[in-house]
């Protein structure tokens, strides 16, 4: 496992309060330096030398940002391209070179030719895709003229490196963050307590739900051939919860940590599994990445297609932008064909959704389901969750072969399961081999998911923080103590990494 300072580690429990106390103790003018130094230390817990990659891209973006602002015409475009090439180049070098090399090697092998280059020994810098996209958005916004170039190198470095969001986002825009680093932040009771509560909730999602789900997921995906269809489905549903709680848990902790110091990050998740369509899912899942892809790839691509001298057929204008955007999203997640297919699949969902809109409306009218809006909402939510979860198979499977095996065996052995529904030993054994031998573990998992869904239900109705503040103090404190006790007693603290660190 790659070494890093994880939000769920003891090291971070010490690092965070120390940095926060220093932040409020230090005079305002030194704070940017403190945060930058802390961020460097945080990043260097991974592979210290890799910080040079960050310094390189920050320096290039700093110089080209100023140059873009100070020039016009083709020179301006040239500086813009230099910045893009530098950022994307680093990403390709460290993340995609081996993938391209491996794909070429496979192609040569298929054609019966010799391929001279073996696998390259390159360790992926932690959070590379996140800070690269954040850097890119700075350059793009400066180029578009919607953001002034940053003249303070330290502030720009902090924008890219601020430790809560350095390795797994949220991917922020310069318009939201740069001005915040210049503002004097005062100790604010509400911010500090709200931030700490959010961090505790994020930690609960990570160590109690995600890491517990991981036991089942790892068991199933390590050797899918050992399991029947129902077990594969359970493993995949567990992964849907694992990745959500892992990533949204991280985001909550990042947002909370920044909020304690008075910085406001963009929300990254809004109960995505309560979505009633794939389009809505992408408005609620990894929101900052979705917005990035929408603003910098989807919209420009669609505008380009619509402005063509020879217009394309309308259906192609509907198909190309989502397909390319979502495939890029897949590639962004990982250098593997499984991620490409995952992205492509979501693109396909969006296209089918757009192309069948009229047909679905007629079907809805025919079925008269509109008269039962709650039933309709439940059906739409379940079907969206099923589609999203199906796509997760490709995201999680280590190889394309494994993914295809799982897809083709989702319903295998179901007859045996149905025939033994009343057989306790059969059912118990089916769950035991999924990683948890004790039924108490399954009960903890189920209870944790119920708690999660209850909180999400409340989040749908408003801000849980506000609802809590209306309750008597003793009730609030019972909740806080319960949350802490659940984390301390039921959490799995085996230093498991956050899934999105690898991207």
């Amino acid at each position: 496992m790659v070494k890093a300072m994880l939000f769920n580690s003891v090291e971070f429990f010490i690092f965070f309060p120390v940095v926060t106390v220093l932040f409020f103790v230090l005079p305002y003018r030194y704070r940017w330096f403190l945060l930058l130094a802390a961020s460097c230390y945080f990043y260097m817990q991974f592979i210290p030398i890799y910080i040079l990659i960050l310094f390189f891209t920050i320096l290039v973006d700093y110089v080209t940002g100023l140059a873009i602002e100070g020039t016009s015409g083709s020179r301006r475009r040239l500086f813009f391209l230099i910045s893009i090439v530098a950022n994307v180049g680093v990403l390709v070098l460290f993340k995609y070179l081996n993938f391209l090399n491996g794909s070429l090697s496979a192609l040569f092998h298929f054609a019966g030719w010799q391929y001279p280059i073996g696998p390259l020994s390159i360790l992926l810098p932690i959070g590379l895709s996140f800070h690269t996209f954040q850097s890119l958005s700075y350059t793009i916004e400066v180029y578009r003229g919607s953001q002034k170039a940053e003249h303070h190198l330290g502030i720009l470095a902090l924008y890219v490196m601020f430790y809560p969001q350095l390795v797994a986002g949220p991917i922020e825009r310069p318009q939201n963050m740069l001005h915040q680093y210049r503002e004097e932040k005062h100790f604010d009771y509400q911010n500090v307590t709200d931030g700490l509560k959010l961090m505790a909730w994020g930690l609960f999602k990570k160590v109690v739900i995600a890491d517990r789900m991981a036991v089942v997921v790892n068991q199933v995906y390590r050797d899918p051939a050992s399991f029947n269809g129902l077990q594969l489905i359970i493993g995949t549903i567990c992964f849907a919860y694992q990745i959500y709680c892992d990533f949204s848990g991280y985001s909550d902790m990042a947002i909370g940590a920044a909020q304690v110091m008075g910085y406001k990050f963009t929300d990254n998740f809004k109960q995505p599994y309560w979505s009633r369509s794939i389009t809505e899912f992408w408005r609620r899942w990894h929101i900052t990445l979705s917005n990035w892809l929408r603003d910098y790839i989807f919209f420009p691509l669609r505008r380009t297609l619509l402005r063509r001298d020879k217009p394309l057929p309308n259906w192609l204008n509907l198909v190309i932008p989502p397909l390319i955007t979502m495939t890029v999203s897949g590639i962004w997640h990982g250098a593997n064909w499984t991620f490409v297919i995952w992205g492509f699949l979501h693109g396909f969902y969006l296209i089918v959704s757009a192309l069948t809109e009229g047909w679905r409306a007629r079907l809805l009218a025919f079925s008269r389901l509109e008269r039962f809006p709650r039933v309709l909402a439940v059906l739409q939510t379940i079907s969206t969750f099923a589609l999203v979860t199906f796509a997760w198979i490709f995201f999680r499977a280590p190889t394309l072969g494994d993914a295809l095996y799982i897809v083709s065996h989702l319903f295998s052995g179901l007859n045996a399961v149905l025939a033994n529904l009343g057989n306790y030993d059969f059912i118990a054994n089916m769950f035991t081999v999924l990683g948890f031998e004790d039924k108490v573990d399954w009960m903890i998992l189920a209870a944790a998911v119920v708690v999660l869904e209850c909180v999400q239900f409340l989040q749908q109705r408003g801000q849980v923080r506000v609802m809590l503040s209306l309750r008597p103090a003793w009730q609030r404190w019972i909740l806080y103590y319960s949350l802490l006790a659940a984390i301390l007693i039921l959490g799995m603290f085996n230093r498991s990494q956050f899934i999105y660190f690898q991207f």
């Binding site: 003891v10 009771y189 007693i489 959490g491 603290f493 085996n494």
Partner: protein, 349 residues
């Protein structure tokens, strides 16, 4: 005003942190905060007792305390790692034997009790700069004495490593995973104090339901460990072999100087290569990341030949031969396998 309000709220959390720190310190499942634990084990070993349930101790410290309390040199001592822990005195006929399973020669030297023969069990990771081993830090004084005596370059490493280790130990006080372990030990203790892992007691048995530290320093695994069919996986095979790209010249030099210093002291050195489980070995030699163990074995063989040192065993279990059921796990051979390696040279009768 706001800070004061916040401080008052923090006070309400003190019981939670107090409980975590208090339980971690009081139960202390890994015996990090108790000095008397290792001394107790060493004293019982010196009395020639077998000790049941003696896990979770700092074995280097126990060995050092054992030597401190010994009065006569041994005929044979065994150095190495956990790979050699199952070598018992009965493998060597009537000779006096102590199995340290950790390299502790400098302590013997300083106490003027060098044995006649030292069997050094060699692991591949000894030559891996990235082996991540910090356990030697318990013997830091003796380590630094050896470094000075052999004019080795790396003594400057000791202080920061010791600082880092002691920091890590004290961080366990607030560690949630340590808290969970403390809670588990505490609840086991409520039911039956003898079942608490690491709560050692004297036994006459050589094999029992829990692991037993035998009076000859070796380890006797529990009946459960002996009877189970081990799950062999890649992770268990690659312990301390991460990022092992080349044989580290500094580690190699340290090793060679140390061995030649033992020879100069008139000690007969014997090398022992303990085999891996057949599946683990197959994985290692077929993986580009770990195939280096073949080079390491070649080096050990070559060095033994040059230094006229007897080398017994092999990382490859087929060379012995030892079958899959003669292993406790990926890396640890059972007594039958180890005795077969040693029997030609030492004989048990």
């Amino acid at each position: 005003m706001e800070l004061r309000k916040f401080s008052l709220k923090l006070i309400l959390l003190i019981p939670v942190f107090g409980l975590v720190i208090g339980l971690n310190y009081q139960v202390d499942p890994a015996n990090l905060f108790r000095d008397s634990y290792e001394r107790g084990i060493a004293d019982l070993l010196l009395e020639g007792r077998n000790i049941a349930n003696c896990t979770n101790n700092d074995d280097r410290l126990v060995q050092k305390l054992y030597i401190d309390g010994s009065s006569k040199p041994k005929d044979i001592v065994i150095f190495g790692s956990s790979h050699a822990m199952s070598i018992h005195a009965c493998f060597f006929g009537g000779k006096t034997v102590f199995n340290h399973s950790v390299a502790i020669a400098e302590v013997y030297r300083q106490r003027g009790m060098m044995p006649g023969t030292i069997i050094v069990s060699l692991d591949p990771w000894l030559l891996n700069r990235n082996n991540g081993q910090l356990r030697w830090i318990s013997l830091v004084g003796d380590y630094q004495a050896a470094v000075r005596r052999l004019s080795l370059p790396s003594n400057s490493m000791a202080l920061p490593v010791r600082f880092s280790l002691s920091t890590k130990i004290y961080m366990e006080l607030i560690s949630p995973s340590y808290f969970q372990e403390s809670l588990r030990f505490w609840s086991i203790g409520l039911e039956d104090p003898q079942l608490v892992p690491g709560k050692y007691y004297v036994t006459e048995e050589a094999v029992g339901n829990v692991a037993i530290c035998l009076s000859d320093g070796s380890l006797s695994r529990s009946t459960w460990a002996r009877s189970r069919d081990p799950d062999v996986d890649d992770v268990g095979a690659t312990d301390a072999l991460e990022n092992f790209n080349h044989i580290d010249p500094i580690h190699k030099k340290m090793f060679e100087l140390w061995i030649s210093s033992l020879q100069k002291d008139g000690v007969q050195v014997v090398f022992l290569l303990a085999p891996y489980h057949p599946k683990a070995y197959s994985y290692l030699v077929h993986s580009p990341d770990y195939r280096i163990i073949l080079d390491v074995q070649s080096y050990y063989e070559q060095f033994a030949h040059q230094s006229r040192i007897l080398l017994l065993g092999s990382f490859d279990p087929a060379d012995i031969p030892c079958s899959a059921d003669e292993f406790y796990d990926e890396q640890h051979a059972k007594e039958s396998c180890l005795e077969r390696i040693l029997s030609n040279e030492f004989g048990s009768n």
